[in-house]
Each structure stands twice: as C-alpha cells, then as structure tokens.
Symmetry: C2
Subunit: 638 residues, 2 copies
C-alpha cells in the first residue's frame, strides 16, 4: 500500500495529499516523540481503487480479455485481463509507483499563499506544490521504497542462479518500469547481436589471419550486420513495448522542468501565467557560450592526445635503449594512463555539460536531455576515438592502432565496472552497517524493519537515469565497429564485458542505489539515432582502413589512384545499401502493424458513433431532417 516515501515534508502539505485521496502516514507514530529527526518522514500510498482511477488519468494501456491492448478506463475495467476487484496485482508495482508520483506532482495550489514557516517560498494558483517544495529545498527527498520481498524474488531470477538464461525482462519491467527494462533489453539484444561478430573474429586471432580478403570480408559483414541489428532492434523494441502497453500510450502534455526559471508571462500554448524565457536568449547562450566552450573542450582533448603521443614515443625510446621485461611493460603504460585520463575527462566534462545545459534554461525536460546528450556525445566520441583516428589516418601505424584499441577498450571496460558498480556497492555495504547500528540503538515503538529500510534507503545514492549506461554501450559499439577490420577481437571483449555488465548493472539497481522512479517509454529515443550515426561513420573508417592496408596496396602496385577510387566506390555502395536496408526493413513487425491499425480503425469507428450519438442527444438530427424535408418540398415545387 505505502510504496512512496517523502522526506522532511512540512505538515501543511498533508491535507493536500489526503485531498487527492492518497493515503499518507508518518513513518514514526506521532506519539513516538521526536527521534533522530525522523518526525517529518511520511509514507505515501494509495488504495487499490484510487490507483485504478489514477491509471485512467495517466492513460495506462493494459491487455484486454481478447488479447488486444487498450487504454484503461475505470468504467470498462471488467474487460481487462486479470482484472478483479480484489486482485491488487492488476497494476504492476512500477505502474502503481508512477501513478502515485503523477498524482503527487499534480497537487496544485488553489490560491496564492505562503508556505507556513518558510517565508521565502510562495505558492501560486495552478502550480505544482511538490515541485515548488523541491525547488525551494523544503522537501528534501521523495523516492519509492523497495519492496523487499519482490526484490528478493527478482534478484533470484535475475542473477541468483548460476546458469545462462535470458534476463527476466517482464519482471524487471514490473518492478523498475519500462525505461530500465528497455535498457536491459537493449543490453541483452546488443550482446546477442555481437556474438556472431565475436565468433567470426576469434579465428582471426587464433590463426593469426592477415590476408586482406579475409579482412575485407569481415569488415563488410560487420557493416551490413550493424545496420541489420539496429533495424531489427526497432522491431524487437516495438514487440516488447507493445506487450508492455507503452507503444500505445499517448504522450502526456509536458510540464516545464523543475529547474526552469524566467519572468512571469503568458505561455502561448496553455494560455496560463507561468515563467517564460525568450527563445532568442537561449539561442544566444547555446551558440555564443555553449558551442565555443564545447569547441574549447574538444581542442583541449586533442591537446591531451598529443601529450599521449609524446609519452608513447618516449616509452618506445626507453624500451629501445634498455630492453628489459620492465621496459616492455612500460610500453603499455602510456595507453593505460591515457585511458584513465580519458575516463576522468569524460566525467569532468559531463558535469560541465550538465551545468551548461541547465544554464541554457530549457523549458522542457526532453529538450534539456537532448541538448545534454548531444554535448556529451560529441565530446566523448572525440575524446575516446581521436587518438585512434590519429594513429590510423595520420601515423598509418596499424600495429599501434591495434594495441591502442585493445588497451583503451579493456581499460575503459574494467574501469567502468569498477567505478560504476563495484566501488559504490562496497561503499554502500560499509555505510549500511553503520546505519543499521544506529537504527538498532534507537528503541522506538514502530515497525522496526520498515523503519530500518527507510533509513537505509534514504541514505543511498540516486540512480541518475540510463544515460551513462547507454553512453557506455555507445562507446563500446564505436570500439567494436569503427576499426573492426583491424581488431576483430574487439567484439569478443565486448561480449565478455556485457555479460558481466548485466550482472553489475543489476547489482547497481537492486543493491546500490535508491529504487528509481519508473517511467513509461516506447523506445530508446535519441540513442537509436546515435547508434545509427556511429554505424554510418564506421563504414567510412573501415573502407579507409582497408584502403590503407599493405595487402590491398600490393594489389595495385602501379596506380594508387585506382585503389582509392575503388575504395571510395565501395564505400558509397555500402552507404547506399545501408540506407536502402534501413528503408526496406519495416520498423514494426507485421502483426504489430495490424494490431495498431485495428486500434486506429476502432477509435475512428467509435468517434463516428459518438458523433451520431451526440447529434441524437442534441436533437440536431430532427432539426436536420426537418430542414431537409423542407428543402425537398421546395425542390418539388420548383
């Protein structure tokens, strides 16, 4: 029942929450006295009926008895599969959580008033109270609580057994919501998609194949394969999100993001008074500040790269001067240092990009996210791959390229898993022990396990969304595909990494972070575009690499011109083929297309009937037919 936790809420908001017919209770019973500052900790929940009504408000799509997916309405509730008045599992945990959050965010002030006890914060009519409380720092936290029983079950099916199996995506979706389930779905799909590349790549390593025709074959397969997997993913994604109902969910009207500020004005869309910020000012900030800053960062990243190459030559000289086992190890040192520096720069830049994007003051969360992703992607791409491009196309040193690629890929993978999951997990565990001790020391007349749980979870870190996880996969895809014809083994490492990644990400979700808010989503959004762009770039780089390879050059001893022309021609044909394939492969499987068409047809039919009904009700029909009768009489008389 109570699956959302509010931290440090002023008392005055409780009537609002109750007014929205949500259930709310203090974590510590009111007669328990003031203990450890926990007095302002409330649990929020909703009754089954309230959740059903909320499901209609947010427009959830559920499966009907006839296996079609329909928007849930309370009045038609009995037509839905598994619906029973007493079946409290009809809505998944993630859906319940989403509904309660939606209702909380939609608590709106009726009149202009001060928040009692906080003279600096004022409420305006029609504005979300929760957002106001969050932005003025009165409400410290709001987060969904874990359901320990369900979490244990989920963890067991997910990672508990030592056997190779698919991830329980449907269960993940029920517990964490669609965004996170879709990430794990993509991770799994992507890993499977890499397996053929890895399998083909292994013999290149084992037999040390160096024939050019084999490399060309591998690269061509790679390029077409990467197009196919990205197109097929769209279909898989449609199948999954159709089953989950989010493919059909109508987009809700987007509220301004919490951090958005501006002078009060009339919003041209809603016609209501709200902060507005001139689009021209934002454009100026984007093009005159953010863009130059990003360019500066890119320049800096290139500068660091040049330092790396100086280190590299220094290490080589050192190795040549005093050849020893130690000097051989030293050869790898610059690459490893560079990989670590890259990771650090990526992280620092990430903060800068977040700050800049916030400062650009985008009105909508989606636009904010897109600008942030664009900034981060461009920088990370250059930061990670610039040195490889430099080695490949300026130094023409394929051996060094292979070595650098391997070092970068492996170091960044190890580093990532350590920084992302293992380190926080270890810190968390230590911290938990402390908190537990403190909790047990407080003797309090309340449900101790719940009390402990809330106190543990409120100290946990917040999961900042799937951004970093997708970014990691994106860069991995770059390592695998950009220079695939030089280092076929990259796919093998990627597959190995992804298998452990799945485990560590699951650990992160279940054990390290607070339970994240669930968010319905129908696709992986801008990442699809990012991966597709990467696969286009990889066509160019692979063709160029093949053109540079000595074996191919040996085929055209007389005329380099012919070689280049053939390579360019091949590249253009491959690119054209990619676009044709992307065009020919339908984005949705046929049966989903039919189902969607049927829904559209039904809604059109319903609309028609509604119009007829309305007319009948309003007596228009009579009026109309009378009018027509008169006209006919008039005609006859003519």
């Amino acid at each position: 029942m109570f699956n959302m936790c509010l931290l440090y809420v002023p008392y005055f908001i409780l009537p609002f929450i109750k007014g929205a017919q949500l259930l709310v209770k203090p974590l510590v019973k009111e007669d328990g006295g003031k203990i450890d500052g926990n007095q302002n900790l409330y649990l929020v929940g909703a009754s089954h009926l309230r959740l059903l009504l909320g499901a209609e408000t947010v427009g959830l799509v559920k499966e009907c008895n006839d296996n079609s997916m329909r928007t849930f309405t309370y009045s038609s509730r009995n037509t839905f599969k598994d619906f029973a008045e007493d079946n409290h599992d009809f809505l998944t945990m993630a859906e319940r959580q989403y509904i309660i959050k939606h209702e909380l965010e939609n608590l709106r002030a009726k009149d202009e008033r001060m928040i009692p006890g906080y003279p600096q914060a004022k409420l305006y009519p029609g504005k979300s109270i929760m957002r106001r409380l969050m932005t003025s720092g009165i409400l410290l936290q709001i987060f969904p609580l874990h359901d320990t029983e369900e979490l244990k079950k989920l963890w067991y099916t997910w990672c508990g057994q030592v056997k190779i199996s698919y991830q329980p995506l449907d269960e993940i979706r029920c517990y964490f919501g669609e965004t996170i389930a879709l990430y794990f779905g993509f991770l799994e799909y992507f890993t499977f998609a890499l397996v053929p590349m890895a399998l083909i790549g292994i013999p290149y390593y084992v037999f040390a194949w160096e024939d050019y025709d084999k490399y060309v074959m591998f690269a061509s397969f790679n390029l077409l394969w990467s197009t196919v997997i990205l197109e097929v993913w769209k279909r898989c994604c449609a199948i999954m999100t159709y089953r989950w109902g989010t493919l059909l969910m109508k987009r809700q009207f987007e509220e301004p993001r919490p951090g958005f500020h501006g002078v009060l004005g009339i919003n041209p869309v809603t016609g209501k008074e709200e902060p507005v910020y001139s689009s021209i000012k934002r454009q100026i900030r984007i093009y005159l500040v953010s863009l130059p800053f990003v360019c500066l960062c890119l320049y800096f990243s290139l500068y660091v790269m040049m330092i790396y190459f100086e280190l590299e030559t220094w290490a080589l000289d050192f190795h040549e001067e005093n050849e020893s086992y130690f000097s051989k190890l030293m050869l790898f040192l610059p690459s490893i240092i560079y990989a670590i520096v890259i990771e650090m720069m990526n992280r620092v830049y990430r903060y800068a990009a977040e700050f800049l994007t916030s400062w650009e003051n985008h009105r909508l969360e989606s636009s904010h996210q897109n600008h942030l992703i664009l900034k981060v992607l461009v920088f990370n791409f250059l930061n990670c791959f610039a040195s490889l491009f430099y080695i490949a196309f300026v130094l023409f040193d394929m051996k060094l390229l292979r070595q650098s690629l391997a070092t970068l890929l492996i170091t960044s993978q190890i580093l990532n898993q350590f920084v992302e999951a293992l380190l926080p997990y270890w810190l968390q565990k230590r911290h938990n022990k402390k908190v537990k001790k403190r909790v047990y020391s407080i003797k309090v007349d309340t449900d101790l396990s719940l009390f402990e749980q809330v106190n543990l979870e409120k100290e946990m870190g917040t999961y900042l969304g799937t951004f970093d996880d997708y970014l990691e996969l994106f860069l991995q895809f770059g390592y695998v595909s950009l220079f695939s014809c030089v280092y076929p083994l990259a796919a093998v490492f990627a597959v190995l990494n992804n298998i452990t990644e799945m485990y560590f990400d699951a650990l992160k979700m279940c054990r390290v972070f607070k339970r994240p808010f669930s968010q319905p989503t129908a696709n992986i959004g801008v990442w699809q575009l990012a991966f597709e762009t990467m696969s286009v770039i990889s066509v160019v780089t692979n063709c160029a690499l093949i053109g540079l390879s000595p074996q191919v050059n040996a085929l055209f001893p007389d005329s380099k011109t012919d070689l280049i022309l053939i390579v360019v021609l091949a590249e253009h044909i491959l690119l054209a083929l990619k676009f044709v394939m992307a065009f020919v492969i339908p984005d949705k499987p046929r049966d989903i297309q039919i189902k969607l068409a049927r829904l559209e047809f039904e809604s059109l039919e319903a609309l028609k009937q509604q119009i007829t009904l309305q007319k009948l009700q309003e007596g228009e029909q009579e009026e109309a037919s009378e009018f027509l009768k008169k006209e006919t009489c008039y005609k006859k008389g003519e």
Copy 2:
C-alpha cells in the same frame, strides 16, 4: 447546388443517393424523352445543411473566430469564422465537392442483392455501391462539374493579366482543392528558389568564366542551397497547409483501392469480410517479376544509350569528313533524337509500370502509389541521366557533357509542354466545336447552357493526378543540380521553363481536362524524399566533376592521390553538413509549432474534463468516494 455529375447511372441507385439526403436530378427532364443517350445522366448536389453535416463526417478543419484552426462540428458551427446559416460560401467549392464525393462513395449496400438489369454484378452488405458500379463498368463516369463563373474569375486572376505576380494559391485551393494548389505552390516556390542559382549562373555564360575556383564556388553554393530550399519548403508547406486546415486533418481510415481483388476472407484490421490477398504472394510478384522486369528495362535503356553514342561518333565523323553548315547541324541531331526517344521510353515504361503495379494487387491506394512512384522514378532517373553519367565519368568529355545536358534539358522541356498541354488543348478545342454543333442541333426543353456544359465536359480527358507534373520537376531538378558545376546556365532554362510551365499547367487544369476531384493533403509526400535523395546524389556527382576538371588537376601536377583524397574529404564534409542542416532546421516554423502544441494541449484538457464528466454521469464518482470513505474508516480502525 448541383456540382457533381454522374454518367449512365442505373435508375436503382437514385433511392440510395436520396437516402443519403443528397440531391439528385436528371440532366434532361424526364418528359424530354430519350435524346442522344443522355437519359441516364444525373446531377448530384447537396443542400447547405447536408454539406455542413458532411463536413463534420469527413473531419474538415476550419478557422475559428479566434483565428485558431479547429475541426468543424455542426454543434459548434457558430464559433467558426465567416459562418452564417445563409453563407453558402463557408465551405469552399473544393470542400463541397470532396464531401459529396465522400458521401457518394460511402453509400453502402444493406443486404446482398443483384443490380437490376446487370446479372453479372452483385452487391454485398457493407460494400461501397459506387465502387462496385465503377468496377463492373455500369457507372461510366463520375466527375465534378466546372463552375463557369468561378472558373472565369479564377482564370482571370491566375493567367488573365499580363503581369508578374504570385499565383492566387488560395483561390486555386478553393476551386481545385489542396493537392493541386500544393503542386502549384511547390512549382512557384521551386521557381523562386532557382532564381538565385540562375542569377549566379548567368555571368558564367556571359563572361565565359572557366576558372576552377569559380566553378567550385558555384557548385558549393548550389549544394548547400539545394539543401536549404528543400528544408525551407517543408516550413512553407506547413504554413500553407495550416492555413488551409489540412495540416491538422486526421487521416481517414483507408478503404481498399477499387482495383484490389482477392478471395473473400476476414480482414484482420476491421474484422469484416472482404477480399484478402496474401502478402507473400504479393512479395513474390514484386521480387520475382516486377524487379527483374525493371532491371531488364534499365538494361534496355542502357543499350539504347550505347546506340546513341554510336550515332554521336558517326555524326562527328560525318562532320569531320564533309564540313558544312548542314553537317554542323547534324551534330545536334543524335542528342535531339535521343531526347525524343528518352521521352517516348519514359512514357511507354510508365504504362508498363502501371500495369505491373496493378498486377501486384496492393490493397491500399497509398501503397500502390508508392510502388508505382518508386518504379517510375528509378527508370526515369537512369533513362534521363545515364548518358550524362557515361559522358562525365567514362568518356571524361566535359564539352560533350555540357552540350548533351543543354540539348536534353531544352528538348525535354519543349517536348513536355507541347505533349502535356498544347497538343491536348488544340485537340480539345477542335473537339469542342463538334460537340457544340451537335448539342445545338438537338432541340431540347432544358437548360441549354448546362446541357452543353455537361456534354462538353464529359468528353474531356481526365487529369491523372499530379504525378507527371512532379516527375517533370524532379527530372528538371536533376538536370540543374547533378552537373551544375559544368553547366551553370541550366538553372536559367529551368526558371524560364517553369514560368511558362505555370501558365500551361493552369491552362491544362482550367481548359483541357475535366475538373479533377479535390483531395485534402498536408504535404507533397514521397516527392520530398525523392528531391532530397537527388540532392544527396548531386553532392557526389559535383564533387567528382570538380575533381575531374583539368584546372583542379593542374593544381596537383605530381600527385593525383592527394587530389582524390581532398575531393573525397570535401564530399564527406558536404554530406555531413547537409545532414546536420536538415537536422537543425525545424520542419515547422515556431508559430505553427506553438499553435499545434496549443491544440494538443486543449484536446488533452478536454479529454480530462470528459473523463470527469463521464464519471459523474455514470455515478462512478459516488461509488468511488464511498469506497474511499470505507477504506479510510478501515484505516482508522486499524
């Protein structure tokens, strides 16, 4: 009132038409006796009220008093701009025509019955009667009548005055509907967009500039310009169709196209019984018959091209042997013959493509059209441009390329305007005289001018849609942009051609063909994609041409490799720039975006209110609050 004409309708359908509350009357009064087979000629119309109700059924979008665009409903009629019960011009002529056609097509048989007098034709319940009559050849024609008064006015503002002005697009839209108005809008926009290219191109001809840097500048300008104009067109198109209301119009559910056949089965979308045709069979027909046939045609077209080149060398030899004024003229002959042959092949292939696409038996008109357009585009592209590609990239003969380009462009333009408009106009005029004579010879007791008009119009040709007109523009765009750096004057010819084209197309619409059915549309559809593809291809060709030019080659006397690499690099940068520009320029202007967002917001708000209302009506609210009360009691008791 009567603005639609049915030819040779069996009498039995009249009750159906009257049942749909449409007005219908015979052209010749029934006591006029049988004259010249005109007895089965009926005029169909609708009263103002019927049209308004129909406008709601088809979902027309009209402007409101507050300048916003909204879907018309009869009950809210008074909120719309210019609405008055007696204002019969509230709906445009094209809209009235569209409504009546829609209502006629929606006359559906109630039960299975034979058509009296036609034992071979049978009606099925729920099937469109009109379509059945058309496909079984019982209903010979159905076409909208011209409104002679309005047509005269339109013609005067359109082409009547000898002065340079914009086309009266809004008037064209009122008379002919959105599809045709959008074509003329695109033609005008495209012509204006070509003017800068033409202006920059003229000095190249006048001063005989041959410097490579000037050509590079021209080509670069051209490439970016063509991207910009295609992106800006989307915005212009959105502005126009927003004003016309079609941007907001909901897509109607598509019925199977008239020619579609199959065995009776259950349509998985509608759940109704109708002919179904297996998708696999269609795929087999497409890939095993159509595709090979198209390839064969392409091969044949290349074969004809080779013959042309033999003729060309023969003419050259002839000129060298006996140099004379005649032999100099003979030099142009092969190109002219080839241009004519190309036109003929295009037209013949067009019929074959139409036949094949019909045979592929697509269920929807839109899918039929897309397959037809794809077939025709590929063939026409190769047929028109193969010789130019051959000259440019196999023969490396820039002079011949320029000459061929000029001949092809000018010949095809002259030929087109002659075949498309002038010839039919002349034939039509001769034919009209005959018909008039015959009409006057019949002494009949009826409205002679209307009688004459119907008899004239029923003999006119049918306008087959904007396909050929767009195709002509598409090929022209190819001539202008693919080899623009070789022949900057092409844009000048294109502009001149388009100015006369506008006049001839207007002539065609108003004088030569039957009045076409109006069709609401929100954009130029697949043609946008076709033009964009052409502009991508033109980047490749222009870069290659610049790389081939002797001036550029002279800059790199030692290393051809460097030259090619630089050209390829430039090409890739240009292509990337194009994609970035296409991505950055928003498809809709900001104010239209805001208006659309406002409408969406309003409809969401309305939906919310509706849900609340419904709940109140159904007494759910009481039930709900009672349930909640009980729950609260239960909680308190806990």
